[in-house]
Symmetry: C2
Subunit: 456 residues, 2 copies
């Protein structure tokens, strides 16, 4: 006998969880359509060539690798194996890997289908990704990402459109007070120019990316250890603090950034985006400029987004995204600026659950159950349920003539709102006895009246 | 630069394919709900213990295995590796495997959650499965299965209910003339008793299972080679032929089967099922008794199903299923008879496509595009599209002020039915110029009138 256990970091979803998850997914999906995105899907695994070398050393470690089928040691000699060079051996015995995000497969898709798509190309993709991360609250090894991207347009109108999309999704979920943070990679490059630390740009990004996980003082210490000068670190954090109140400090910031071409360009973008949002306010989210926002992913080149839940919820980001100028280039298609966003379903679920914003789907399925009073009625029960189903009513029969108590207990446990008694008396008098499981009230009805009642 | 290529046997789905696939999935899903099933989902991969040893040698070979994370050679010594005993080494370096079907994970789920589910337990599950099969028409290495199962009821009403479910799904898909074949594993056991070849039962099953792939004469030859006597083989095929016309040959068959307890029981089940279908005819499928139907899967113990497309289509089965009495036992839960069915989405898609029964979803997404006449209009375009979206109209703006010709060409290629011109004149006179992309007709409208028109 085997113990029924799940792999680490994975989950089963029962019906009640799925109805809630699907409610969120449907809101996101509907809004992707509203904003003109069409769906695509890519395979769960890609050739390992496609994925490896795209996510940095840390990402590479977290990718799930699939063993070649058949004799995977065929082209390997025993020396190679005993050398115990894991990464060398892995490339010999593995030829596929599970999707790590939706963006790299999307870039592969765009290049592979470049003759069949129209630029600018807008797609959404709602699929699982897998990462061998250490599981923790809201973080799993299999999780659903909901992505929308536009490829082939440099227009800043896209940046604004995505902010509106974030806002509309949260509005439809009745989620108030989400904080949409924006920054630009250009500003971060600019800062490294202004403070003459371009050589330490990726260290700066890495450290800033930790600001929502560890204390600011710790990040400062790390930067000092990495060779940043003390007054530079202080100045950077001064600018970060200024950035959080964009409206008040606009002039000051512009002055600071004017010495760098990159920074001026990045700042003009932020200014443009804010000028729209000031004229056309968001539904119920807040737009916040945050120069401390860095995003860990290498491929971003322009505006970046990260969305935090309402302040009362202490949980990491629920969505993110940004502009990437050269992602399709690795597969051979140049000059295709792209921008995209991603909702993380699990975090969003936790936030909505904590705020009690998930609708009750407890009786989402069976509306009515026909109780079973013996073999004589079996065929009638099947045909009665089929009549209801023809009228789009979800129903079932109880398959065994157990005691009425047991059958009603099944109905209660499954939160089925109505039960039908159909025995000798009912058959003789050509009616059905309907019991409202909540009120306990019973009434006699013809099949036609029953259908009429339930279709409402 | 890397070539953008897909792994063997996998596919990307573009929007037009996805809209059609989702149409079929929705019909199946809606009917699962109509019949009282609730959804669950299990992880894409299971612990390898859970899957290995469940599908026979052939199945085992086809399971995709996932390498342990980190140093997977840690607990392996070089001798074990150089011995080149693949299956031994595999169990050392692999700890997870991709789902091979939905039934074994479901059995694991039922046992693991036995305290939270109500018996009989009805669930549906629509998820991908993966098999390292040789790809061919309608067969892929990643494919979607749509399963419904009931656990914990012996009632034959379930068998009939599943036949009605098949029929209802095909009716809703406007698919006429599907052939729902039934048989019972009990009859096949009975036949092996009657002809005294119980020892060769699994050979018999294996050979009969090939009847829809190779010639009958070949199957007969195989059986002779496997040691079946010539007159036994002839008799078995005589009975198979009799079975296909159940109504005419009912008495004859009953006489043949009466000497075996198993066979009599199996035959009584078939008789019971037919007696319902004779009284309450199916919508547009045919029920066919076929004693030659065997089903390759080990765990079936009672009635088995296999559905063939209408006769004019030459393609294998589009759905199947059957009763299994002991599946949860491997995980430690005894006496839980189950019965389930499965639709294969890819085959169903091919059948519906060949019969031209898939609706046209070509303009399923964006209904209207706002053309771009320069930076001066950018903010207006964003806010106009947002007004439409608030009214549930799918729309987008063109992000760059390219030539009108290029912008209209984008609209045409994406099959967007309406385009809006919003330039100097329109802004001044407070209206929008709407172009019907099909007829070419243009009209001037206020935003309110436009919303009214498109909401219809």
């Amino acid at each position: 006998m085997q113990k029924p256990i799940l792999p680490k970091g994975t989950r089963d979803f029962n019906s009640s969880e799925l109805y809630k998850r699907n409610y969120i997914i449907d809101v996101i999906k509907d809004n992707f359509s509203r904003f003109g995105f069409n769906p695509i899907e890519t395979p769960s695994f890609e050739r390992s060539d496609t994925l490896l070398g795209k996510y940095g050393d840390e990402g590479e470690r977290l990718i799930f690798k699939i063993l070649k089928s058949g004799n995977y040691l065929k082209n390997t000699n025993s020396k190679e194996i005993s050398d115990n060079n894991i990464s060398f051996l892995t490339r010999k015995i593995v030829d596929k890997a599970l999707r790590y995000d939706l963006t790299v497969p999307f870039a592969r898709y765009v290049v592979q289908n470049q003759n069949n798509i129209t630029i600018p190309y807008k797609r959404y993709q709602i699929q699982n990704v897998w990462r061998a991360d250490r599981p923790q609250k809201g973080r799993f090894r299999e999780f659903l990402q909901c992505d929308a991207d536009v490829i082939g347009s440099n227009s800043l109108m896209q940046e604004i459109d995505f902010i509106c999309l974030f806002d509309k999704v949260f509005a439809d979920l009745n989620l108030e007070g989400c904080r949409i943070k924006i920054n630009s990679r250009k500003l971060l490059i600019g800062i490294s120019e202004i403070f003459n630390c371009q050589d330490k740009f990726s260290s700066l990004i890495n450290q800033l990316d930790k600001l929502d996980k560890i204390e600011r003082s710790e990040v400062k210490n790390n930067l000092l250890k990495l060779g940043f000068e003390s007054n530079v670190v202080d100045s950077i954090f001064e600018i970060i603090d200024l950035s959080n109140d964009f409206i008040t400090n606009k002039k000051k910031l512009k002055e600071i950034f004017k010495s760098s071409k990159f920074a001026s360009e990045g700042f003009a973008e932020i200014e443009y985006i804010f000028s729209y949002i000031l004229k056309n306010s968001l539904n119920n989210s807040k737009l916040i400029f945050d120069l401390g926002l860095a995003r860990g992913i290498d491929y971003y080149t322009g505006v970046i987004f990260e969305v935090l839940p309402p302040e009362k919820i202490s949980l990491g980001s629920i969505a993110g995204g940004g502009r990437y100028d050269n992602l399709t280039e690795i597969f051979g298609l140049k000059n295709m600026s792209g921008i995209g966003i991603s909702f993380g379903l699990d975090r969003l679920f936790l936030v909505l659950e904590e705020l009690d914003l998930l609708p009750d789907f407890s009786n989402n399925s069976t509306q009515i159950i026909f109780l079973n009073f013996g073999k004589d009625f079996s065929f009638d029960l099947i045909s009665l349920t089929n009549s209801l189903r023809e009228n789009n009513i979800n129903c079932e029969f109880f398959p065994e003539p157990l005691s009425v108590k047991k059958q009603l207990s099944y109905a209660n446990k499954n939160q089925i709102p109505y039960a039908v008694f159909y025995g000798e008396e009912e058959r003789e008098n050509k009616y059905l006895t309907l019991k409202d499981m909540k009120s306990g009230k019973q009434e006699n009805l013809t099949l036609e009246k029953l259908i009429e009642k339930l279709r409402k």
